[in-house]
């Protein structure tokens, strides 16, 4: 069931209790008084100007827009291919992931790159896309102590998720490869390579 809860005096957290439906982010952002939206797996955080709107008003706006949006047909998703150099110094945790899964490193690469993933949402840092669709076999727990420096472009597995680190940051996911594609580039017109709803396929180099 959809539930609404104040996250702060200027934000409202909507929990869907199921994978988030199509979120009308762009339309919400065009409503006067709504300042930001943060979609996630099963929730949406809406940030608003609390001098212009209150939580009840924002709840009504979200309900109305979602009802309209669900009546629209789905657009065909875009497929983005990401070339990856798996293993070695680019993917120092590949062997560990193989050991956890009971597969060989080659089989991990084959399975990881044979799957089509979907961008659930972006968060954490600019351009970081949470990808859903990781085969259960490849799920691997996060590192007990996170690395202080994960190189930009690292392809990683954390729990049941996979993602590419867009920039060099600390991180606790297991690194299986690296891409030279720039996931986030402030000089590019489309700063973030990936957007919600995109499909992603990794191509081994």
């Amino acid at each position: 069931m959809m539930s609404f809860r104040a996250a702060s005096d200027q934000s409202l957290l909507i929990r869907f209790g199921a994978p988030a439906p199509k979120v009308p982010a762009v339309r919400l952002l065009s409503v006067p008084g709504i300042r930001n939206v943060h979609p996630a797996y099963e929730s949406l955080l809406v940030v608003f100007d609390s001098l212009a709107l209150d939580h009840e008003a924002v709840e009504r706006i979200v309900r109305d827009l979602m009802a309209e949006e669900s009546a629209l047909p789905d657009a065909a998703p875009r497929v983005v291919e990401i070339p990856v150099s798996y293993g070695g110094e680019n993917g120092p945790d590949l062997e560990d992931v193989a050991a956890i899964s009971g597969l060989s490193a080659a089989e991990v690469i084959e399975l990881h790159s044979a799957t089509i993933y979907t961008v659930s949402f972006l968060g954490f840092v600019p351009g970081f896309a949470y990808l859903s669709g990781l085969p259960d076999r490849l799920a691997a727990p996060r590192l007990k102590s996170p690395r202080t420096r994960v190189p930009a472009g690292s392809v990683a597995i954390g729990g049941k998720q996979t993602a590419v680190y867009p920039m060099t940051t600390p991180g606790g996911w297991r690194l299986i490869g690296r891409t030279t594609l720039q996931l986030f580039d402030p000089a590019r017109e489309k700063m973030s390579l990936l957007e919600i709803g995109d499909q992603v396929r990794f191509r081994p180099l």
């Binding site: 702060s8 005096d9 930001n36 797996y41 940030v47 968060g123 600019p126 986030f184 402030p186 700063m191």
Partner: protein, 312 residues
């Protein structure tokens, strides 16, 4: 065009306006001035729009040359600024003559001081804002902190005349607080009543890990009553999350946009500028309000800002 020449940028000085909200869907937090009241009032006193870009200085000021002169105002914490030996008080517009240098000292109390100029710092807008976002390299001057030798253009003068200053009583009321008022967070009910009581009864110290992304606190550890992982969700500005170690963290203007730790409370909008003035070693406490009280405080604060910036 008038310019500002950076002779020394202090410790960490960036170009900031009121931020770049609206890019949550690509994981970019809003950024913007840590103490937006300081910047807004500083701008309004100069006749600028409140969102004009200024310089945010952290703990230490620096030296800024104005080859063509400019009208300036300082905001936020008083770092002890001077022009040719004559003191420049906070929130009082001041004419700087061509060739004069503004020297800004170091923090005596709050963490951040702002330099506003009549006309604003005219760096190109990125996604509608001049605000520097360090992690993504967006905005400001090449998306980075200022360096010695940087030259910043000053925009055209606004039509509105500058104002005289802010009344002392109002400045005190708009100044930073160490008793931060908060409302419940989305996971407050994950914590036992006794843990919540501990949170409000304890003093927390700001650790050296305090920056634009967030502030780690140290004090009474808070145990989350619920075990197991939380599903990642959007996090709001000023939320107080409690990682497994139990020491709370306040997420701030360049925060991660989503997170998976429970949040016990959230600093109210009216007190977020106070968070921007906290520095390592500061001792703070939290006071619990409801949403209606939080909104009333924001209204009152907003009315005071409006009144003061039209005071002559």
């Amino acid at each position: 065009m008038k310019t500002i020449r950076v002779e020394s940028p202090g410790l960490f000085t960036t170009v900031q306006d009121l931020g770049r909200p609206g890019f949550g869907p690509i994981g970019v937090s809003a950024s913007g001035a840590c103490d937006p009241i300081a910047l807004r009032v500083g701008n309004l006193l100069l006749g600028n729009t409140e969102n004009a870009a200024g310089l945010e200085m952290t703990l230490q000021g620096g030296r800024y040359l104005f080859p063509e002169g400019a009208m300036i105002s300082l905001g936020g914490s008083d770092f002890g600024a001077t022009v040719d030996g004559s003191p420049v008080p906070v929130w009082v517009p001041r004419e700087v003559m061509p060739g004069q240098v503004l020297t800004v000292g170091r923090s005596q109390s709050g963490a951040r001081a702002y330099l506003c100029v009549r006309g604003g710092v005219a760096v190109p807008l990125v996604l509608g804002s001049a605000s520097t976002h360090i992690l993504s390299g967006l905005g400001g001057l090449e998306g980075r902190p200022l360096r010695k030798g940087d030259v910043l253009p000053i925009g055209p003068e606004p039509e509105r005349p500058p104002r005289r200053g802010v009344r002392e009583s109002a400045a005190a009321e708009l100044g930073p607080r160490k008793m931060l008022r908060v409302t419940d967070g989305p996971q407050t009910d994950w914590f036992a009543d006794s843990t919540i009581s501990d949170f409000y009864a304890s003093t927390y110290t700001v650790t050296p890990e305090a920056n634009r992304m967030g502030l780690r606190l140290e004090g009474k550890a808070l145990a989350s009553g619920v075990s197991g992982d939380m599903m990642t969700e959007g996090v709001s500005l000023g939320c107080i999350q409690v990682p497994s170690g139990g020491q709370p963290v306040i997420l701030f203007v360049e925060q991660q946009t989503t997170g998976g730790y429970p949040k016990i409370a959230n600093v109210i909008a009216a007190d977020l500028p106070s968070v921007g003035q906290l520095k390592p070693g500061d001792q703070i406490r939290f006071v619990r309000l409801d949403l209606r009280e939080a909104r009333e405080l924001l209204y009152m604060q907003e009315r005071l800002i409006r009144t003061e910036s039209s005071y002559l």
